[in-house]
């Protein structure tokens, strides 16, 4: 169908330039709109932009302002101060919590990318039929409820959960293993499992793009499979690896559900603390400050990461 239409249009006489297209004369504004493509584009875009402005830009500005306020009983003291930021910088609990969040999602990111790379490699190079079927199969669980997938891990790792009860009924252990649930490891395992699709897709795209003749050239010039992988395939797939790292690291640093269900006190992350400030503790300005600080940290780490990888790529090239 698309090809047929394509052919039809190709044999049609050349189109007149846009300015000469037949149009109905309807006043000045219509003429202006017809002439000015940019204006028409933005006009068409305006409902979407309006929603995004109401939903993102304005809330962000207010969040930023709120972070400079302080709590006064049940009200806010609206004089702008750096009190909250000073507290975040000076009280060790905030630093520790931030460091732990970044560490947990950092480890989860590396684990996920490392485990997904061979899978993406397999689909890109070794699956010849039904590639799309494979990709759908891999990404399908990602679209199902995040809450339920995390909940499933709670069922698996729980004190009387699947692993413990299975090991006990097999007679391999006598008492349930306590470290499975409510630990950083539990959070990392769950995050790695839940975000796998976010890693697979960019990895697959970058591997699929690699010109196969380069691999043949490497083989012809005497590289074995291992040398070929490290000297050709891996460097050429680096854009995918970097994209995958970003796509997992940034959203997971602020994750709430996984640490709340599986982390316990030892695996609590900054997202949980932000929620506590907006909920039970009822110190909204502090919650706002923590959100802004988290954003700044994410930006800083992303920039450093980008800078380092760019330098490394320049050195290779």
């Amino acid at each position: 169908m698309p090809e047929a239409l394509d052919r039809m249009t190709r044999f049609s006489p050349t189109h007149p330039p846009p300015g000469e297209m037949p149009r109905i004369k309807t006043g000045r504004i219509a003429t202006l709109l017809h002439r000015n493509e940019t204006l028409r584009g933005y006009l068409l875009m305006s409902p979407t932009l309006a929603i995004m402005t109401i939903g993102i830009i304005i809330p962000f500005i207010i969040l930023l302002v709120l972070s400079f306020w302080t709590r006064q009983g049940f009200e806010f003291d609206t004089t702008l101060t750096l009190t909250n930021y000073r507290r975040v910088a000076s009280e060790p609990i905030f630093g520790a919590l931030l460091a732990r969040s970044l560490w947990i999602s950092g480890v989860a990111t590396i684990t996920t990318v490392a485990l997904c790379y061979p899978m993406a490699y397999f689909v890109a190079f070794h699956v010849r039929r039904n590639k799309m079927m494979w990709l759908i199969l891999i990404t399908l669980p990602f679209w199902t409820s995040y809450l339920l997938r995390v909940f499933a891990w709670k069922v698996i790792l729980g004190y009387e959960g699947v692993i413990n009860s299975a090991l006990i009924s097999l007679g391999w252990i006598e008492a349930p293993l306590e470290f499975l649930l409510y630990s950083r490891e539990a959070v990392i395992i769950t995050l790695a499992h839940a975000w796998a699709a976010f890693a697979i897709l960019p990895l697959y795209v970058s591997l699929e793009k690699i010109d196969k003749s380069l691999l043949e050239a490497a083989t012809d010039l005497g590289d074995g499979p291992v040398a070929r992988f490290f000297r050709v395939t891996l460097p050429l797939s680096m854009p995918g690896v970097i994209a995958a790292c970003f796509l997992i690291f940034i959203p997971t640093t602020g994750d709430y559900i996984t640490p709340a269900l599986l982390g316990g006190p030892d695996g609590m992350m900054i997202g949980n603390f932000i929620q506590v400030q907006f909920g039970p503790v009822n110190n909204w300005p502090m919650g706002a400050t923590l959100s802004i600080v988290l954003m700044l940290w994410i930006c800083a780490i992303a920039l450093v990461f980008l800078f380092v990888t760019r330098k490394a790529q320049e050195r290779i090239a």
Partner: protein, 274 residues
């Protein structure tokens, strides 16, 4: 050719890895229905026997039904609005020479990567400063922000994928812009529209963190499930509810991705051939 076949020689260990990967990927999700039919209040091995009593109990639970209908209403609204906004945005981005295009697309895609909790609290602060009471409407607004990037990402390749001269041909043959859109553009992007509707509905239906901050007294289904997780005796019926959600959402998503990808790969092959 010989070299290519040498490169693509089947790799046994990679095949095993891929198989294990898929099993591990699906196992946790499959355990949910397994224990939903287990005749025991405890979620543990050994299995006790088959029962449907948890589903019966769930069926008779009014709050679960309320939460379900709330989620359906929010999901349908979000799906329609975000898909319409997605169509408009994708058309504007692909059809007009717009300065700042890349910045615009990046801006729309932002909610994909920024932690949802930040959007949640930011919207909560805005709404409370404006004195808007939390309700299903505020949840809908939050979900729109989450779903728009997915709608645009699904629809953009559609609008990029077909030849602009078809729209021009329609204009040459005397159609105005409105009818050109309905008779040429819309049928061409239709699979993308279906995919976008299904995807955004499912995302909204399953979304937790925005709803967690923006729900008033009417909970959506994930919020209801969350509230029940505190009570161990409710576990089996929540497992039953979870398996129902999975049972219906997996086919929906499968169709969405299938329909969404099918056309795109076809049209990109078309352009590659020509």
């Amino acid at each position: 050719m010989k070299a290519t076949s040498h490169l693509q020689r089947p790799n046994r260990s990679l095949q095993v890895y891929a198989a294990v990967f898929l099993v591990v990927l699906y196992l946790p999700v499959l355990l949910i229905p397994l224990f939903a039919f287990n005749d025991s209040i405890y979620v543990r091995f050994p299995l006790r026997g088959f029962t449907t009593q948890w589903f019966v109990e769930l069926w008779n639970r009014q709050p679960a039904w309320n939460a379900f209908w709330n989620s359906i209403r929010v999901g349908l609204t979000v799906a329609v609005i975000s898909t319409v906004l997605g169509i408009v945005a994708a058309k504007a981005i692909t059809r007009y020479r717009m300065p700042g295009r890349t910045a615009l697309v990046t801006f729309i895609m932002m909610p994909l990567v920024i932690p949802g909790i930040i959007f949640g609290v930011a919207l909560l602060v805005l709404l409370s400063r404006m004195g808007v009471p939390l309700s299903l409407y505020t949840v809908t607004l939050g979900h729109l922000i989450v779903c728009l990037p997915f709608a645009v990402a699904t629809l953009l390749p559609r609008f990029e994928g077909f030849d602009r001269s078809m729209e021009e041909a329609s204009a040459d043959l005397g159609e105005n812009g409105w009818w050109t859109f309905w008779r040429v553009t819309f049928p061409m992007v239709f699979p993308g529209v279906v995919a976008s509707l299904l995807l955004t509905f499912t995302i909204s239906f399953d979304e937790f963190i925005m709803a967690f901050f923006l729900t008033g007294t009417d909970p959506t289904l994930p919020i209801y499930i969350w509230s029940q997780l505190r009570f161990p005796q409710q576990f089996p019926s929540i497992l039953a509810l979870a398996s129902l959600v999975l049972f219906f959402s997996i086919p929906l998503i499968f169709i969405a991705i299938w329909v969404g990808r099918l056309g795109v790969s076809q049209s990109s092959e078309g352009t590659a051939e020509s």
